[in-house]
Symmetry: C2
Subunit: 417 residues, 2 copies
């Protein structure tokens, strides 16, 4: 049986535009992975009548109702009270939840006030979803043909509660299991992926294959529905192989993290260190690599050589080269990478030099033209990235990621760009 879910976010801060409803995005993505349709999202403020009205409308349109926010003492547990009334449920005291709240306050060394215990009041007969990431417990129950799940609003809490509490509950609603694997790619757009895989996507029903355009690259999600996890994985395997075969070295991995995580893992495995010499990306490649905990094991350091004097002084790029070819040239990209390897004492160095815009450089190089250098013990390679005349931020992000892709290709023996 196919289910339809509807999301209601409760919070005046959403209506004032203080924050975006990222909870809805996260939950919608998760529900689509479970094969559950979503037809509407609603956002409503901290107002009991309006929350109640939103619930009444939503329950007529969906058989799964998921609320986010409006739990906890600052809003008088608004959502729980409104939901309990809408479904004719009493709120009863839940001893175990009260104990968890007491323990949490004790651990933080903060005094507990009476209104904190309100969070331990639970709609009669509901399943309590323990919250290990905050104080307000979640709740799930079925009443009058509707499954209702209440989750806290703060994005991180909501994500953890959805992933570890709501998803297992929702999985019970379907027969069998739903399993997904995600093939991550870099350097190929969603429409090019669709063009290559359209026939396969259209031919498939179980598993399904769907592309997702993310700022970090196109992802392909293969989702199977089966009696057991093993059966689901067996359905996924041949499709995963087909996708990998078609997309070749554009695939950075399956169920992996970001490109920088893939690079870091490869560097650790091969016991190699890396360093950076950045001009147009201005520190972004170094920033991406050091976003990750444990990066100090492989990342030595970087030089942001924005001015020619720093290119010459810190990286040893000959002034002669800068004069002859200009800072934005394959020759300088190469000299920067070679110089960084020496200056930073690393096994592999990445360099970037290009025109991030909005204006052309003084030699008339077009906005979006970036040279990426890679130097290693055995040699040096320069790739050209032509991002086109888009926003500065996008040129910088894309060229930083392309530099990391160059590193990934080098480390995996794939053809360099």
């Amino acid at each position: 049986m196919s289910h339809t879910a509807e999301l209601i976010a409760v919070g005046t801060e959403l209506l004032l535009g203080n924050i975006a409803n990222t909870d809805a995005q996260m939950i919608s993505e998760g529900l689509s992975q479970l094969g559950i349709n979503v037809y509407y999202h609603t956002v409503v403020g901290d107002n009991p009548q309006r929350v109640r009205q939103a619930v009444e409308i939503a329950r007529q349109r969906a058989d799964i109702l998921i609320t986010t926010g409006g739990l906890g003492p600052t809003c008088d547990d608004l959502t729980k009270v409104a939901i309990a009334q809408a479904f004719g449920k009493e709120l009863v005291f839940h001893q175990e939840s009260a104990q968890r709240i007491r323990d949490r306050f004790a651990a933080m060394g903060r005094p507990i006030t009476e209104n904190n215990y309100q969070q331990a009041m639970i709609p009669q007969g509901a399943v309590v979803l323990p919250n290990d990431w905050g104080t307000a417990p979640g709740v799930a129950f079925q009443a009058e043909g509707t499954h209702v799940i209440l989750l806290p609003g703060p994005p991180r809490e909501c994500e953890m509660m959805f992933r570890y509490r709501a998803v297992p509950y929702l999985k019970q609603l379907s027969d069998g299991v739903i399993v997904s694997r995600t093939v991550k790619t870099f350097g190929i757009g969603e429409s090019a992926v669709e063009a290559q895989l359209r026939e396969l996507m259209n031919a498939l029903h179980n598993p399904t294959l769907a592309p997702y355009a993310k700022p970090t690259g196109t992802e392909l999600r293969i989702t199977a529905h089966a009696g057991t996890e093993e059966e689901a994985l067996a359905l996924i395997a041949p499709v995963e192989q087909q996708v990998k075969d078609r997309l070749g070295d554009k695939v950075i991995g399956v169920d992996v993290g970001s490109l920088e995580e893939v690079c870091l893992a490869l560097l650790k495995e091969k016991r190699l260190t890396v360093g950076t010499a950045e001009s147009c990306t201005g520190g972004l490649v170094a920033k991406l690599l050091t976003d990750l905990p444990g990066s100090s094991a492989v990342f030595q350091g970087g030089i942001v050589s924005y001015s020619n004097s720093v290119k010459a002084g810190a990286l040893g790029v000959p002034y002669d080269l800068l004069d002859r070819y200009g800072a934005v040239s394959p020759q300088v990209a190469e000299a920067m990478a070679l110089g960084a390897r020496e200056a930073l004492g690393c096994d592999i160095a990445l360099s970037t030099t290009g025109v991030a815009g909005p204006d052309l450089d003084d030699r008339g190089n077009p906005v979006g033209l970036v040279y990426l250098g890679l130097a290693w013990a055995g040699g040096c390679h320069v790739a050209t990235y032509q991002g086109g005349r888009v926003e500065r931020e996008r040129i910088r992000r894309q060229s930083a990621q392309t530099a990391l892709d160059l590193l990934r290709r080098h480390l995996t023996g794939a053809p360099l760009l």
Copy 2:
């Protein structure tokens, strides 16, 4: 008369969780600035019946209806058709819009297809909101007591169309003008701001004063409603002065951009150059400064000295100092800033060294402890930032921003941290 607006976003990509509804956040913030209440947001997919149903519900609850998305040929101009039906309007051909579409395609050198002209069909009697940022024009009209505004969905297009087309239209709905000024602060949380300004905020009605917590710092928006812009500004001025007096050197400016923009403008004005030496922030300070076009005029370069060998080699931090005090120490922060000034040939250097987590460093320094150095021709100063045990990303962002705040304070003569 006070107005109530409701937002309807049309797009299946929102229901699949591919993107968050950032249009709703942007518009809600803008409406709150205009003094217009928002009680609900709705998101609905590319489905004519469901869009129609969402419109019918919304028009009973609000007198201003703003839709985003569902314009343009890929979705058969879904929203425009549904809205026209709901309000009993014919769609008529708008010659001027057709010409704009033709010109745009000609400028891009792309052939125009028949379905592109669908975008030139406009509800009879509606005001066309010309779109200078994309192909689908916006539309505004009043019918049966409701003001209806249709905007395109892509976030940047939507933002420009809202700011430059919808806001002027909405301003006509109120008598007189609404003017806002935003006081930006750094280094003071929303609750501390509220504690200091609560009485003032409660006492005010015109202008109003409201705090907004942003990741980049707390903002205070002063909004006045008056007959003319001059009258509104005259109402704002004394409140602005009071806010500045109370918050003192936490104020980075009024109606200014980011902290890095403020720093860049100050550096340009004083004809000074800057450079960075980063450990725990791993290139983020350099990245923030170079996010801005024109930064090459004042930013010389930076060194990301993640390993001790780079601290010693590229920055000249004595090994002796690293051994004696450890990399995370005020002594090393100072030596890094002094070394960067020399190595990069800049007037002012900023340095960061600290523990971004998730683990303590090898000397047992706690997660979140960061030393920030500032070196200039006349001396050197080290500030301590204690961010507490929060996520790595947040520690890095906050300490990078605090380093920039140190620079701002130095450049404006405010007390250093």
